[in-house]
Symmetry: C2
Subunit: 598 residues, 2 copies
């Protein structure tokens, strides 16, 4: 059950697929260098392997518990969290003025990659804190920043996002939680929230809840939602903890997986004594929420990568150990490891190729995020911003869909043992399943992709992306290696297919949005397949140069092998997805339930 | 959580997709008519809806338990099983001389469809009994048949299959359980078996174990395995129950799902007193096993269809009830049911199309099974046998892979609620997961397809199948409806793609089996996609004729709509799978774990 953070792969992806050097070259990050990044990742690997990963199995079996109103996290989480804070992992990408290390966001994405692979139910808590920090950084008053940020940046206090109510899941317009001004700048909060990840726990001294609620006489719908900072324990001006606020976890949900992560029903103001302060402007709560949410979407995407990595490592180890059968045509003698069987190798390549493609997409998304904020040139920042926005639903939607597939293949490689909980493969599959759902279901990601991201700029960013892929395909085709040439050909076909779908959607858009929406998920899948192939092929070209120069030859060749497999299986799938994208709403007529259950 | 057996769909599929009339027309089944079949299916529906389905949720929550050496099934199972036996459901397709009703096997496949949809952990037990009956029918002595068959045909006693040992899963050559003749025709059995479904339980008075074991001095490997009948309770010549045999369940596995089904570790002869009789010839145990196994593979395939149906019904009901969001462009007013959202409808169509395609494949497989045994003409029997053999790995492999997808989409439609166990969607996904693994993993099904089934007859059956699909495509293309014409075009493209893959595999076979095996799973998927489209399109053509004649117009149109969706999404996928099939072993080079975990 041992796990090893894939430091070498993370560095390879960061530099050779995702182009992290462009972030270094902005000059915006003092002292940033490959040596420093390597040292940090190696440290990260040690922390994850030794302090976090060992708790993964146990956290599933015993899970978080609600005891007399107090949420207890699984054995070992407290110590792991202490090390997480002390190691500065929470503060990595935050501004130095609040105690952060001011490193690029892409590196924080890597931290989540490793942390989620180590123990997803532990890692998920940290993402809520960093999301809350971003919202307070973006919209907080000086006083709010002073009160909360330093301890949240370090991780000494955690954050939570309180959006969902039973009647308001994907559609937040239906939120009913109330906030009434009490006259001293504070607001009295009352209402219930559900699905609140790490809404309460015993890892930190305080939890800073960000809560969506309605002011009295607020407009209907999303235009009447405001965001409030509601601390679990009140904070005095000197930063010391005061009285307990009237907010508590009243129930933990029984979930399919992620048992170590407390998913809370939170009651605000049950005794009429819950107070908070407004974050940002009145009725502009959704704007703040999207600050948190957008970052969170990339975080969830890389969570998919992490859990897929873990499932892959587990399956690879099992496939080496488990002996069954013989080579084709051989009838007797010792059994061979199942890794020798072609179909098992096929499954392992499938897992590995999807993990690497997902990692490349998420890291590239991180690079775009950093360049969008720190590139010296306006035009570079604008282009990076467009790419960041385009890639976000793909990171979230594609990487988590693929994580489900990877985790399920992991179970399959284990055969009957995969269905037995003891093995651990089933846990990865159960844990992974949530990532395609929260922070906006993948259906909502697909709507975002074909809506705001594609139609928002008339398709400019998508077309730019396709052009880059075509150029990359030409470069790969020109390479003097059959495998790279093949990759280039597959990439070119896939790029043309993506272009065809893109044009179809843009032409359908003014006529009928239902046609666009009907193909949205297929388009996201197609786009993700192409993006994965694009970033992997960039890495493969570097690998070929390294191999030709005699550098890390075996490792470099393994990168090309994985990319070749990906091209043959997933880029060709992309080419075949056009008809699913372009079938239109005619293929999904209104459903008469009477006819559709017979 | 209510469930309704899809009787109308089952009958439509049986007659219009799977061509059940050809079974009726053999004349081998007295009194068999559409009226009779309809009456039986309606009765089946009542039994499943009222006696079985209500126990599904509870059986997951509380599960089977081992208490003081006795296995207790979940609340309600005993009563449901009593009704199952009394209703004659177990005896449906068995010979009248042992108390069976002598109806076609295809109808027994339908019974499993409905039963698995109602409660998979209940249904799975029945399949073991019918498998054991088939093995005893095929190889038992008159005495064995007299002792066991009548009570097993009725279901009064159940059967179990004892194959797996820790070191012998997919590869049975490693079996170590021993059988020593004691001189009076009996054998002393000793050893442990794992993963024994319903190895012990409280539903019946006796369990008749079929056990694979080695005789002293048996040859190594699979050529030295014999099969034994080992009753839980000894049976006297007059059929009365005697002393308890030395066989017991010593542990239940903790599984990802199917909690209501006891998965036993069985100890034979721990106290030196376990006796059984040889079934069939010495060292020919695997032959018997394949009699059970082949029938069981179709049973598991339709189990996938059943659980997918259940997941679909659950998701459809939720999508009608759950209100979130508004139509595109609408900003205020009441929220609409999520079934109105294009992407949710897309998911429901995806589920429904895969359920119907799977059902059609399994029922067609059943029809081929029946014709192979009961068609009056030798040549018809031979052809049907070839089709039965070809379809079996597809029923098992494709339908269960697709069941996992369908159940996962069901969770997705539920959004966050899907991850909460209370909703039930997660249970369907956890339950479904095993079907792709047992009775030969789907990787083994793929090996069987490209090996024995494809290469065994030089590709004759596969080519015949492709020709039939092409003919069907021409008929559909000629229809004077745009949707049928489109279906025909997609079917034709898919048929040519399948032909291309088939030829490639046949040409690669003599050169390198690794090339063949590397593409085997993709070929199974491609074949299943084409087969599903083929059988659905047969139904769609009948539906079009019915609609044109003013018969059940709305229902008939719904069948065409589902087939159209299938064609656009899954037949086009088939066309895109050629490169994955034909990539060869070069794309899955040997894995150096050191390089592949970094």
């Amino acid at each position: 059950m041992s796990f090893s953070t894939p430091v070498r792969d993370m560095l390879f992806t960061l530099y050779h697929s995702a182009g992290f050097s462009t972030v270094e070259r902005t000059g915006a990050y003092e002292d940033l260098s490959e040596e420093l990044v390597t040292a940090i990742y190696e440290e990260l690997g040690k922390f994850c392997d030794n302090a976090v990963a060992p708790h993964n199995r146990e956290s599933d079996q015993n899970g978080a518990r609600l005891e007399n109103g107090v949420v207890r996290t699984p054995e070992g989480f407290k110590d792991a969290y202490k090390q997480y804070v002390e190691g500065g992992w929470n503060a990595l990408a935050f501004p130095p003025e609040y105690g952060g290390q001011g490193l690029p966001q892409t590196m924080a994405v890597s931290v989540l990659d490793a942390l989620n692979a180590s123990c997803m139910s532990f890692a998920i808590g940290t993402g809520l804190t960093t999301g809350a920090v971003k919202a307070i950084l973006a919209s907080g008053t000086d006083e709010q920043k002073k009160l909360y940020l330093e301890k949240m940046v370090s991780g000494e206090w955690t954050g939570s996002m309180n959006l969902t109510e039973p009647q308001a899941g994907s559609d937040l317009s239906a939120i009913r939680t109330k906030a009434e001004p009490v006259g001293d700048g504070r607001y009295k909060i009352s209402g219930q929230k559900i699905f609140i990840t790490y809404g309460d726990h015993d890892l930190a001294d305080n939890v800073i809840h960000l809560v969506l609620a309605r002011l009295p006489d607020a407009p209907e719908g999303t235009a009447g939602i405001s965001m409030f900072i509601v601390p679990k324990n009140h904070v005095a001006d000197d930063g010391s903890l005061g009285a307990r606020n009237d907010v508590q976890c009243i129930k933990l949900e029984e979930k399919m997986g992620l048992h170590g992560s407390p998913t809370c029903v939170m009651a605000f103001g049950e005794n009429g004594g819950c107070y908070g302060t407004l974050l940002g402007e009145e009725n502009k709560g959704l704007k703040n929420m999207f600050v948190m949410m957008n970052a969170a979407r990339l975080d969830v995407g890389v969570q998919g990568v992490g859990i897929a990595e873990r499932a892959y490592q587990r399956a690879l180890a099992y496939a080496q150990d488990r002996k069954q059968g013989r080579e084709p045509g051989v009838k007797s003698g010792d059994m061979i490891s199942i890794i020798e069987h072609a179909d098992v190798r096929r499954m392992l390549f499938q897992m590995k190729a999807l993990v690497e493609a997902g990692r490349a997409i998420c890291y590239a998304n991180g690079v775009a995020y950093d360049l969008a904020r720190r590139a010296p040139d306006d035009d570079d920042r604008r282009k990076a911003k467009a790419l960041e926005e385009l890639l976000t639903p793909i990171s979230k939607g594609w990487c988590t869909d693929r994580a489900n597939e990877v985790a399920s293949i992991g179970v399959q490689i284990h055969g009957g043992m995969g269905y037995i909980e003891e093995t651990g493969a089933a846990q990865h599959m159960r844990d992974a399943r949530i990532a395609a759902i929260y922070e906006g279901t993948n259906g909502i990601q697909a709507m975002d992709l074909v809506g705001r991201k594609l139609q928002g700029d008339g398709g400019a960013a998508a077309r730019d992306f396709v052009e880059n892929v075509k150029e990359q395909a030409i470069i790969a085709k020109a390479a003097k290696r059959d495998d790279l040439h093949m990759i280039g050909e597959r990439l070119e076909d896939a790029a043309f297919a993506l272009e065809k779908s893109t044009i179809w959607l843009l032409e359908a858009a003014p006529k009928n949005q239902e046609d666009v929406l009907a193909g949205s998920s297929a388009y996201l899948r197609q786009f993700g397949n192409v993006a994965g192939g694009y970033y992997l092929s960039r890495g493969a070209l570097v690998a070929a140069l390294m191999a030709a120069a005699g550098e890390n030859v075996a490792y470099s060749e393994s990168k090309i092998a994985v990319t070749s497999f990906y091209a043959e299986v997933f880029l060709t799938e992309a080419a075949g997805l056009c008809s699913a994208v372009c079938a239109g709403a005619a293929r999904i007529p209104a459903i008469d339930p009477e006819l559709m259950t017979a």
